[in-house]
């Protein structure tokens, strides 16, 4: 048996038995919850943001379903903790006493006042928090009061408050960034200049999830009105990954990173870590399925690390950063074309319609009539294909009379007439067909040799040469 990988992390000086933290949100509302979460396996928890006590509204959440799957995206209009500061602090002390090896981070948000920040920092650290997370990201409610994203959207404020906190803090300070900005690096750099020890990215995204088409009121419904909220869940993961990459690839921004945004399983976590995150924070998935989801996060990540030969998180952290580059550094002469495995094809022909309407018109239903390669005008078009089918006279088969006639017409499970074919001479290798195909490994993208030496756009510009296909001037 290979040695079990070590999932323990040291995040900017905060020690945690694994990289899975609960984000500052309803799952970390109180000590009782957090202790149950630790029992389930979570390595750390960022306490629901502590500050001057607020009053919340009812209702608070709304979500986006997709194709009958619930909560692809979740939106909330809940404010920071609505419990008294003293209660939260007392419970932090209790949790740390009973779970000394787990990470307890105090998320903080107070008025933009130096003394107020000094006070809350001292209170949180005295209570025993292992670190502080400054909530500069909450996009709803608190921002109207000059806090949350109102701070995170103005680099000068973010830098100033970070500096105030650092004047007093003895534990690591994490600045939580809002994605509701044009370039996340601007605020990340400000936080770094202010002395932040780490960053967490991203907070929720401004959102209106939808409108009730009977009452014309957006969701969530609060007495006849609604307000924009903060969006999170699986739908936001790609945005979060991109922002984490932007920050971690920027020398002036880069700090220890706690990745947040749609993390629901170990695979998501591995992706955030590959882009440089030292820990990940989870909220929506835990709200959807409960704390128990962390079991497979730990188990799955361990198994994957064993398979890949990684003994620690640090061994693969950031490995993908070098593989993200600017467009201008991509090889213009690399080429793939799609390939359809006729044995796997089920004949849905979604690749066909996708290629014709959404891509480059190079998938054809001509295996029976005989393959023809070439530009769009030499092929039968989709409308003609459908017209021909609709004009067929079909009737219900009678078992004894008709069914033998329906015997297989080809060696494949799907009738040959329904198995699409790629015109490789026209295929640009865009991936769309492979993305829409419902069958795993049915459509694969195969590398083809162009016989041309690698060349990037930047190199082409520098060389001042026009490509044979004329893309220099048109691209």
């Amino acid at each position: 048996l290979a040695e079990t990988p070590d999932l323990a992390v040291d995040f900017a000086g905060i020690k945690s038995p694994n990289p899975f933290w609960l984000a500052s949100a309803p799952p970390t509302n109180c000590g009782e919850q957090i202790m149950r979460a630790f029992d389930a396996g979570w390595g750390g928890a960022v306490w629901k943001t502590i500050g001057a006590q607020v009053t919340n509204v009812s209702s608070r959440y709304s979500s986006i379903d997709w194709n009958s799957k619930r909560m692809m995206g979740l939106n909330n209009i809940e404010l920071i903790s609505d419990r008294p500061i003293e209660v939260n602090l007392r419970e932090i002390t209790e949790v740390k006493k009973r779970y000394p090896r787990h990470a307890v981070i105090a998320s903080l948000m107070v008025n933009s006042n130096r003394d107020a920040w000094h006070t809350i920092v001292a209170q949180a650290e005295d209570a025993g928090a292992d670190g502080l997370e400054l909530n500069f990201g909450c996009p709803h409610g608190m921002s109207e009061r000059g806090m949350g994203s109102a701070v995170g959207q103005v680099p000068e404020y973010a830098e100033m408050i970070t500096a105030w906190v650092k004047e007093r803090a003895r534990t690591p300070v994490i600045v939580k960034l809002t994605p509701n900005v044009s370039d996340i690096r601007v605020v990340a750099r400000a936080a770094k200049r202010g002395g932040a020890d780490a960053l967490s990215t991203i907070n929720t995204i401004n959102s209106i999830t939808g409108i009730d088409l009977d009452t014309f009121t957006p969701r969530p419904y609060v007495g006849g009105k609604s307000t924009h909220g903060g969006y999170c869940g699986p739908a936001v993961k790609p945005i979060a990954l991109s922002m984490v990459q932007q920050v971690m690839s920027d020398q002036e921004s880069m700090l220890p990173m706690s990745g947040i945004g749609g993390v629901a399983n170990w695979q998501d976590a591995a992706e955030f870590i590959l882009l440089g995150s030292g820990t990940v924070q989870v909220c929506t998935a835990a709200m959807h399925y409960g704390y128990r989801i962390v079991e497979d996060m730990i188990d799955g990540l361990s198994n994957w690390m064993s398979e890949k030969g990684f003994a620690t998180i640090e061994e693969f952290r950031g490995l993908s950063l070098a593989k993200v580059t600017e467009w201008k550094h991509l090889d213009l002469h690399y080429k793939v074309v799609a390939h359809i495995d006729p044995f796997k094809c089920i004949g849905c022909d979604l690749c066909y319609t996708a290629c014709w309407d959404g891509a480059h018109q190079c998938i054809h239903l001509d295996r029976v009539s005989g393959p023809i390669d070439g530009p769009v005008d030499v092929h039968t078009k989709p409308a003609a294909v459908e017209r021909a089918s609709r004009s067929l006279i079909t009737e219900t088969p009678i078992p004894k009379l008709d069914l033998p006639v329906l015997a297989r017409e080809s060696q494949y499970a799907t009738p040959l007439s329904r198995i699409p074919r790629i015109d490789e001479t026209e295929c640009v290798g865009c991936n769309l067909c492979a993305l829409v195909c419902p069958v795993e490994e049915c459509i694969t993208m195969l590398e083809v040799q162009t016989g041309l030496a690698p060349e990037t756009w930047e190199e082409r510009c520098i060389a001042g040469l026009q490509a044979k296909d004329g893309t220099f001037f048109s691209g």
Partner: protein, 445 residues
């Protein structure tokens, strides 16, 4: 439609024959609709004789556009409510679903179609007209079964005045009188026909077409004739005792219980024949209280003309099958049937059957229900001048339904020898469109 008031649903029959496939609840329908891959040029649409655009109506269910969904269905098939219940979807749309190759259950297309159609009814939906232009030509449809109803609806939607004539007192033909009640109730059949009546189609019931004079009158009065008369009576048992009054053919038996004439049955029942109608009758006999129901068939399981799912359903309902069994006589004592005398058959390698010598035996029973097919209406069909009949079937051009007499069109069972409701609807729709076009192109839509 006045005739509808002639029908009163029987509460006992309704209790004994609940829906075999209960309707979807709203969310279940949406979940199922979302499962549909939305294939291009979908195989289900191709397999449907009326070419209902299946992914189109299913995705409208997913988007909660139920009115649009039903209208998309009705565009192709005006008897969509009954087809959603009675179609043998296993060998049509659902049988061709690509999910079979995808290691998943096929999409429940029939039940989804019913979901859309039920919602349409609940919304008080009506069949749309295809044009506001009125046509002068008058058309008659002979028979009020699915083929004629489809032709009538198509023509009326295109502005023609259509009259439908039937010898029965209720419209719908086998849809109303001859389909197992747990698949399609008579009440549901009539409700659906009400939509066609609302278009303005004129119905005349209780009109028996027998003499040449009557047919000549029709020929004089109408500009085109659609023959949708279906098939005639069921074959009689050609054996001693086969004409005993307690021998009741399957269609008569089914009609009687559907109309509430028969609400219970006692004793042992023998059904002769192993087609879909035999299964319908056997299952009904079981539900009506028969102690024992057996289907006798002279060949083996592999040779029955009932669909596989009908055979499985019969077994589930407790019907038993006697293979290689040839009835030879119905034994009776006066008004009471005693038994069916049978002999065993033997099958050779080529599938040929011969009687096993000395194998006579009796199956005791109280009711005998032959289900050995319907005869064509040869005498009636022969009276249509210039309309060529071959092997009991009206010869037509498949694309238009036109017979060898250009003024006459035909479709449904009298053309195909007896297939499904959806086949009749497809025939009627094609003929309706062709009749309309024969009076000059009309812009529709």
């Amino acid at each position: 439609l006045a005739a509808q008031s002639l029908f009163q649903e029987n509460a006992e029959i309704a209790r004994l024959f609940p829906d075999l496939h209960p309707p979807f609840a709203r969310q279940a329908a949406v979940i199922e609709a979302n499962r549909c891959l939305n294939c291009f040029n979908a195989p289900c649409t191709i397999a449907c004789p009326t070419h209902i655009d299946v992914p189109k109506f299913i995705k409208k269910i997913a988007s909660d556009n139920l009115r649009g969904s039903a209208l998309a269905i009705l565009e192709s098939n005006v008897l969509a409510s009954s087809c959603s219940r009675v179609c043998p979807v296993e060998v049509l749309c659902e049988g061709s679903c690509v999910m079979h190759q995808h290691n998943e259950q096929p999409i429940a297309i029939g039940r989804l179609q019913r979901h859309a159609m039920d919602a349409f009814d609940a919304l008080g939906g009506k069949l749309p007209r295809k044009t506001l232009e009125q046509q002068a030509a008058k058309i008659v449809c002979l028979g009020a079964g699915p083929a004629s109803l489809a032709a009538a609806a198509e023509l009326q939607q295109r502005g023609f005045q259509v009259t439908v004539i039937d010898k029965k007192l209720l419209p719908g033909g086998l849809n109303t009188y001859g389909i197992a009640e747990y698949k399609l109730s008579s009440a549901e059949s009539l409700r659906e026909i009400e939509r066609i009546a609302e278009l303005g189609v004129e119905f005349r019931f209780g009109v028996e077409l027998t003499n040449e004079t009557g047919l000549r009158e029709i020929d004089n009065k109408f500009d085109a004739v659609f023959i949708g008369v279906g098939l005639g009576a069921m074959h009689r048992l050609a054996m001693p005792g086969g004409d005993h009054p307690a021998v009741v053919d399957a269609l008569k038996f089914i009609e009687d219980y559907k109309l509430g004439v028969t609400t219970s049955i006692n004793g042992r029942v023998v059904v002769i024949g192993a087609g879909n109608t035999a299964v319908d009758a056997a299952v009904a006999a079981k539900r009506l209280g028969a102690d024992d129901v057996r289907i006798l068939y002279r060949r083996t399981r592999e040779h029955i003309s009932a669909f596989d799912f009908e055979y499985e359903h019969a077994k589930q309902e407790g019907v038993s099958f006697e293979w290689l069994t040839q009835p030879v006589a119905v034994q009776s004592i006066q008004a009471r049937i005693e038994s069916v005398e049978c002999m065993k058959m033997q099958m050779d390698a080529a599938g040929g059957i011969t009687p096993l010598p000395g194998s006579y035996f009796n199956i005791p029973c109280d009711v005998v229900i032959p289900a050995i097919g319907q005869s064509p209406l040869i005498e009636l069909l022969a009276k249509f001048r210039g309309v060529v009949i071959e092997k009991g079937r009206v010869i037509i051009d498949r694309a238009t339904g036109q017979t060898t007499n250009p003024k006459y069109y035909a479709g449904g069972d009298c053309v195909n020898g007896g297939r499904e409701v959806v086949d009749a609807v497809a025939d009627g729709k094609r003929a309706g469109a062709a009749i309309a076009n024969s009076f000059g192109k009309v812009r529709v839509g």
